[in-house]
């Protein structure tokens, strides 16, 4: 079965400290993996994607993620959180026509 698990429903960090949002996947096929961000009352926006090229992927706003096949993980990181990073983050797995699955989301709070 195909599934995406975001291990934390809420993460709280202080401004200027590192961010780690965790995503694990399960798939019988080689997946493409994405991170999207959703600010309140805004549409979903792509942060970055992995599609079987480099395993370390850099995205917008200083975010990056590393695809680790052995750990079936695609965790999102940022070295230094900014107040504007406060939002809901979603991990997405797409295996082409076979399955497309979003995680349940992680709400990131950034404390001043």
């Amino acid at each position: 079965a195909q599934s995406v698990t975001q291990l934390d429903s809420h993460v709280s960090v202080s401004e200027g400290t590192p961010v780690l949002l965790r995503c694990n996947y399960s798939s019988s096929y080689s997946p493409s993996l994405f991170w999207y961000v959703q600010h309140p009352n805004k549409g979903l926006q792509l942060l970055l994607k992995y599609t079987s090229a480099a395993t370390l992927v850099k995205g917008i706003n200083g975010f990056e993620a590393e695809f680790k096949k052995s750990e079936t993980s695609f965790h999102l990181t940022k070295p230094s959180a900014h107040m504007s990073d406060a939002a809901e983050y979603f991990c997405l797995m797409d295996t082409g026509r076979r399955a497309l699955t979003f995680g349940s989301g992680t709400r990131l709070q950034v404390q001043p």
Partner: protein, 117 residues
Amino acid sequence: EAGVVQSPRYKIIEKKQPVAFWCNPISGHNTLYWYRQNLGQGPELLIRYENEEAVDDSQLPKDRFSAERLKGVDSTLKIQPAELGDSAVYLCASSLDKAASGGGEQFFGPGTRLTVL
């Protein structure tokens, strides 16, 4: 370049009434997606079109939900009759890449917030 357009933005209906949502994808995008997003959850794929072909509709509750994408451009999602549990945000997205590649960036519309009373 215009983004994905959805209408209406908000809809309030009584249960058992029909409702329809409309989506206009980004020009030239082959793949169109409809999602349902319940409060506090991730989007759930309802149906995915490649041009006018529905290539993945396994999660669409076919007893009450229907969708069409005539001419491979605009799409309409309909619920008839609506139930209380259908209250959610309905999102439309489009992608330049074909569904089979699985690696396409999706561009999302603002969504339609449906409330069923």
